[in-house]
């Protein structure tokens, strides 16, 4: 399914950081939404700032407009404030993109577990994210770091316990 760009994407001023404060707020909200939707669509979990500049999200070749590096940083900062982004390095060159927050993933995983009557079973992380059983699930293919955080969120809620096993980590659901 091809990605549906929002109307702002083809609006040339969208790629200029707006001088008017209220308009800028609307602009940034739209950018945050676009970045998250795009990453969700492409199942991207990390972004590299320099690479991002050339990505179709920030560079619309059709209308010959692209977001400057400074502007991209502003958008990323906005995402960070909202809890959807985490920097992986001090130089802010690479980041984790959480188009779904760990708590939300945790909820999805737990729903699948209880729906299949598998509460009280133990799973390896691999089984959860890459097993045949979960192929149709949205969390299938979830990257390890995010999977761990989601399970940690469930753990905090008392719905799961992360166990260390011989060859890695596992989880038991309650």
């Amino acid at each position: 399914m091809s990605f549906e760009w929002p109307w702002q994407y083809n609006f040339p001023p969208f790629f200029t950081l707006q001088p008017n404060v209220d308009t800028r707020q609307k602009q940034l909200a739209a950018w945050c939404s676009l970045v998250l939707s795009y990453c969700r669509h492409r199942k991207l979990y990390t972004l590299d700032v320099l690479e991002a500049q050339e990505s179709p999200v920030f560079n619309n070749k059709k209308i010959e407009r692209k977001l400057s590096v400074e502007a991209i940083q502003v958008v990323f900062e906005e995402l960070r404030k909202k809890g959807n982004l985490e920097w992986l390095d001090k130089n802010k060159s690479r980041c984790l993109i959480m188009w779904r927050r760990p708590e939300e993933w945790g909820k999805l995983i737990y729903q699948w577990v209880s729906k299949n009557g598998m509460v009280n079973s133990v799973f390896t992380l691999y089984e959860l994210a890459n097993g045949d059983d979960t192929e149709k699930e949205e969390f299938h293919g979830l990257e390890d770091w995010m999977l761990l955080r989601s399970l940690q969120a469930l753990q905090t809620d008392g719905k799961a316990e992360i166990i260390t096993m011989d060859d890695g980590k596992g989880v038991k659901f309650f």
């Binding site: 707006q18 707020q25 609307k26 692209k66």
Partner: protein, 258 residues
């Protein structure tokens, strides 16, 4: 032979004649009033028949409404004047425009975050029709203009700006004077305008042009594009052709600040 008009007798006669005329006059007036009253009753009955017969048409046909309005104008009646009253109640004309007014406000509010409160009459028309669904009653641009005039009279911050043969409908009380209006008209062609274009077309000083553009930015009606070749362009979402009839997506709705 007696001489006429002279003497006490003549005066008395005159007085009597005057009294008789007066009496006659009031009798006449009474007559006329009785007749007029009867005519009005008949007229009223006819009108009631007209009303019930055509109430459906008034709701359904925009052409009928135009003709009806024109007829009313000829006899000096404003069917939309203040909700209560013989005409609006009789024919439901007031209801129709009142409901339309509410719909117009809804459409404008839904899109305000996008276009800053400025929308073309075409787009407004398109969306109103869409909102009314398949079995929609025919609504013309004339209907919209009348409804908007009503809204304007009620002080809802509505206004209409003539541009390129049609109108821009303003639904927020942004202060737009002649200078702003004329720049909007200039921008209508391509959806954007530049300082040079303003100076060339309107023969203004640079400062005046910048002042107007700054105001449009401030009111949220225009966005700045600094990557345009040559000089910055000022775009108006309200005039962005690609935006016409693009629905508000759930994502977009989520972005709207309360």
């Amino acid at each position: 032979m007696h001489r006429r008009g002279v003497g006490a007798g003549a005066i008395a006669k005159k007085k009597l004649a005057e009294a008789k005329y007066k009496e006659r006059g009031s009798v006449l007036a009474e007559d006329q009033i009785a007749q007029m009253s009867k005519q009005l009753d008949t007229f009223k009955t006819h009108l009631e028949e007209f009303a019930s017969k055509h109430k459906q048409e008034i709701r359904k046909s925009s052409q009928f409404r135009v003709q009806f309005q024109e007829m009313c104008a000829t006899i000096g009646v404003d069917p939309l004047a203040s909700g209560k009253g013989f005409w609006p109640e009789m024919l439901g004309v007031g209801d129709f425009y009142y409901e339309l007014g509410v719909q117009i406000i809804e459409v404008c509010l839904a899109l305000k975050h996008r276009n800053g409160g400025l929308i073309t009459l075409d787009e407004l028309h398109h969306r109103v029709l869409k909102g009314r669904g398949k079995f929609a009653q025919d609504v013309s641009q004339d209907d919209l203009v009348r409804a908007i005039k009503k809204l304007k009279a009620m002080g809802n911050g509505f206004g209409m700006i003539p541009v390129g043969g049609t109108y821009l409908v303003q639904s927020v009380p942004a202060e737009l004077n002649m200078d702003h209006t004329v720049v909007l008209q200039l921008a209508e062609k391509k959806g954007y305008v530049t300082v040079s274009e303003i100076r060339e077309s309107l023969k203004w000083e640079k400062e005046r042009a910048c002042h107007v553009l700054d105001h449009l930015l401030k009111e949220g009606l225009a966005w700045l594009d600094s990557q345009a070749a040559g000089e910055p362009q000022y775009w108006l979402p309200a005039l962005f052709s690609e935006l016409l009839s693009q629905d508000v997506t759930p994502e977009e709705a989520n972005q709207m600040t309360p």
